[in-house]
Amino acid sequence: MIRTEGLNIHLGEFHLQDISLAIKKNEFFVLMGPTGAGKTVLLEAIVGLVAPRSGKIFIDGRDITRLPPERRGISIVYQDYALFPHLSVEKNITYGVHFHHIDKDTAHNRFSRLIDQLNISHLLKRYPGTLSGGELQRVALARALMVSPKVILLDEPLSALDPNFREEIRHMLKTLHETSHITFLMVTHDFAEALSLGDRAAIMNQGRIEQSGCIQDIFNRPESTFVADFVGMKNIFSARFSSKSAQVEDLSFEIPSPHPNPTGYLAVRPEDIIISHTCLDSSMRNMFKGTVGRIIDQGFSYEIHVISGGVLFKSLLTKSSLIELGIKEGLEVFISFKASAVHIF
């Protein structure tokens, strides 16, 4: 459906390098990465607002690299919604109709379906300046969908919303995707958002694609330290590998499968590490004795640092388990995790 081949973009300080992506028809594809990774620039290149220095963009097999934005059939919804402030909600939504030669009946039907689906029929006479964040987002979506684009690009559609609106819009996006034949490409820096909405994803960092594929795979099998860190694997260590184990500092880890190289990385999710007072008698193959370092309050949970054999482990505990276990700085504890929780790359 959309394919980019070796896209290189230079835009001021931004450099996108060798971006190759393939997004399937009617897919919900998520583009992830930290702020400044170049996600918005990539979206603007796909829409045709930023010209690539080299590389090609295809849509349905057709090369559109040199096509102006108005002839690509790709809608974009910005993070700040970018509604036209001088036009009413109704005029905003129907803005594109004029340019697409959509006949009156089709336009009318589509319009009533969209305002119904997005629940904005009561806002039509209002101006963007008087709307709330959630309302602005729904109007922006309606405007983008009104021209029935082949692809819709969403630039962090949920990040500027209140948490209660966020859930509502997230649900709406899912429904819109399921009930239309439009390909969705969404940018976000929130992994939870990506997991709940997307089919496949790509992770960007400093103008490059670090990894792309099925979201579950990215989550479970990151291919680089950056991706591992990005998806929340806070325990990442460089390690030396032998056939069935890995050596990190003074500790020997049992690993699920042999590593192809003698050196590489090893990662464990903080939520996979169990803290206990005594040696656990279970199937946990990796168990180390250590000392509690810092305890960091993260609101809903606590991040506990445990130092063992010169290695700093990060684990998560809820407030109640923290109190129950009586975890304090300097306390001697055991940490344990399954061999299958160890990810190597």
Partner: protein
């Protein structure tokens, strides 16, 4: 004025007991008096009879009309040629942009008679451009064309800067979205950019007009005749003294104020809605 003073006190927690408060107030009063006193004195000096007599003088009417007409023309030319340039400066970044911006600001800092001399030196027969214009029958020296040329030269920077600021205040994302919805660049400009920027264009137009109407030094070198109002005021002052130049000045001020007031009212944002 006084309510504003009180608001400042609330903002900066200045109290009336502090001497600093009284220093700021007295400086403000002095400046207000400095600006208003001469103007009020001049406006009230001529009698109504004299004012009536002056406006019946065909030469006066002609020169005031010429002043307004040439200033509007200069603003119109600035609008036509300056708008695209202002748009490019607001939307793109290129090497030498600073240089272009400095060149645009040059007419503001150059002494006025120098502007006149500079324009004459290009428009004279010794210069190839002057030669071409001569062959085409365009005369700059002592003509309306010359006056408009000079006024455009001095007024254009004010228009371009105001409009550039206006364009910069419009998010390029609005234009991007418009393009992605199928509008060409031209349609986008007409439907999105212009409706959002026309107020700053009008403000730029007013600033350009105001600057053009007040020009004397450059015009007097390029075209003493036909006489624009400031030149006539100067001439009457030289020949007959203060008393005879005042009524013309008052009429010019009144007409200019009326004109700018109308334009300013048009540029005010509508209440409610937007």
């Amino acid at each position: 004025m006084f309510t504003q003073g009180i608001r400042i006190i609330q903002l900066t927690s200045m109290t009336r007991k502090e001497p600093f408060f009284w220093i700021t107030i007295s400086c403000g009063v002095v400046i207000m008096a400095f600006i208003l006193l001469p103007l009020i004195q001049m406006i009230t000096a001529p009698s109504l009879a004299m004012m009536g007599e002056t406006i019946q003088d065909k030469d006066v009417v002609r020169s005031i009309w010429l002043s307004i007409y040439t200033a509007l023309s200069a603003a119109g030319i600035s609008f036509l040629f300056g708008t695209p340039l202002a748009y490019i400066l607001a939307r793109t970044d290129f090497t030498g942009k600073r240089l272009v911006e400095s060149i645009i600001d040059l007419p503001i800092v150059i002494p006025h008679p120098v502007v006149g001399i500079a324009i004459l030196s290009v428009a004279g027969k010794n210069h190839w451009l002057g030669q071409i214009m001569y062959e085409l029958g365009i005369r700059v020296m002592g003509s309306v064309t010359g006056i408009i040329t000079v006024l455009t030269f001095v007024g254009m920077p004010f228009y371009i800067n105001a409009v550039k600021d206006g364009f910069e205040s419009i998010s390029p994302r609005l234009e991007n979205v418009s393009r992605s919805l199928g509008a060409s660049m031209f349609s986008t400009f007409c439907r999105i950019t212009f409706p959002l920027a026309w107020r700053s264009m009008l403000v730029g137009f007013i600033m350009c007009c105001a600057r053009a109407i007040s020009e004397f030094g450059a015009v007097v070198i390029v075209a003493y005749h036909p006489m624009i109002a400031p030149v006539m005021i100067y001439e009457r002052f030289e020949a007959y003294g203060l008393k005879y130049s005042q009524p013309v000045a008052v009429w010019l001020i009144c007409l200019c104020l009326a004109l700018f007031l109308i334009l300013r009212l048009m540029a005010l944002p509508k209440k409610g809605g937007k």
